[in-house]
């Protein structure tokens, strides 16, 4: 692995990291560069790891928009969900942001149909 490979912080609920259905996805992430797993819930908790990371994959929390100017420039953040406030802060900071919220949609739609019937 080259030292120039980007460092990736994955901040998700701890159960994600032991979920068998996700194991191959974490292997793909590990193959890219240094990977740090965390389950922080507050901006204070995640601040140090954000300074270490070049890129981040996370859910929607913690909303770290209040400290976004004090961390190292991030190149990419991928979110499972994303509130408006954090989206505005990240785009204003020039970060490439992705959102996979639509991944829930098939199951939500099926639930809606089930409840309708």
């Amino acid at each position: 692995m080259s030292s120039t490979n980007p460092s990736l912080l994955v901040n998700l609920p701890s159960a994600f990291f032991s979920q068998p259905e996700l194991a191959d996805l974490f292997k793909r992430m590990e193959a890219i560069g240094p990977l740090r797993r965390s389950s922080h819930d507050t901006p204070d908790q995640i601040a140090a790891d954000l300074k270490w990371a070049d890129h981040v994959i996370m859910w929607s929390w913690p909303d770290f928009s209040s400290i976004i100017d004090s961390i190292s420039p991030l190149g990419y953040i991928g979110h499972i969900d994303l509130p408006q406030s954090l989206a505005k802060a990240e785009l204003a900071a020039g970060i490439a942001v992705s959102l996979s919220k639509g991944g829930w949609s098939p199951a939500v739609a099926e639930m809606a149909l089930t409840l309708t019937l």
Binding site: H55, A87, L115, T116
Partner: protein
């Protein structure tokens, strides 16, 4: 039936519960034609429903492409047998279903909420449910878990589920996989499939 307490139809058809209805041919409204609403429209297609859509942000061609017709919320509650909430939770949708709209829902209509509890004035919904002429199917609540003494639990015309919409292992995997896919596209300089833009911000939860 495991408990042996079911009631079998003895006199047919007079014993048929009028609350048991088919979906085919009904007038159905979808509030919010985002990814959930669009997939739901696909799922509803085989039922040949008359589909009404309330979503001010979606172009006309997307609504017609989903087999629906654009309407206001007022037109929807006046016309629809079933109203399904699929919108995001933000300033524009907070208590979108206010007392006026809830009281205007057709007698014996069905209100389904798989989106966010904040879309509905829960107090007004409880009052309408207490009248017995509305059915609700609710997956999302102002307080979760729903307190044991919440009055919604006592409503026989409300079907409650504990925020299970979406939360399947296949969905969890899909949401993470899409991010890994997009991360790899970002690293290789390819266009990202799930990129967030300024224009998308109003459609996000606040």
């Amino acid at each position: 039936m495991r408990q042996g307490s079911e009631s079998w139809v003895q006199a047919f058809p007079s014993d048929i519960d009028p609350r048991e209805r088919e979906l085919t041919g009904r007038t159905v409204g979808i509030v919010g034609l985002g990814q959930v609403g669009r997939r739901l429209a696909e799922l509803l297609a085989p039922f040949h429903v008359d589909l009404h859509v309330a979503d001010p942000f979606v172009p006309e061609e997307v609504i017609s492409g989903a087999g629906g017709r654009r309407c206001t919320l007022e037109e929807m509650v006046d016309a629809c047998d079933v109203v399904i909430l699929c919108a995001a939770a933000n300033k524009g949708t907070s208590r979108l279903f206010n007392p006026s709209l809830i009281n205007r829902l057709k007698p014996n209509a069905v209100l389904v909420n798989v989106a966010r509890a904040s879309l509905v004035d829960t107090g007004a919904l409880l009052e309408r449910l207490a009248k017995g002429d509305l059915f609700a199917a609710i997956d999302v609540f102002d307080q979760e878990p729903l307190p044991a003494d919440d009055p919604l639990r006592r409503m026989e015309n409300a079907c409650l589920t504990p925020h299970r919409s979406g939360g399947l292992l296949s969905s969890v995997r899909r949401t993470v996989e899409w991010l890994v896919d997009d991360y790899e596209r970002f690293l290789s300089g390819e266009p990202r499939k799930y990129a967030v833009t300024e224009a998308m911000i109003p459609s996000l939860d606040s």
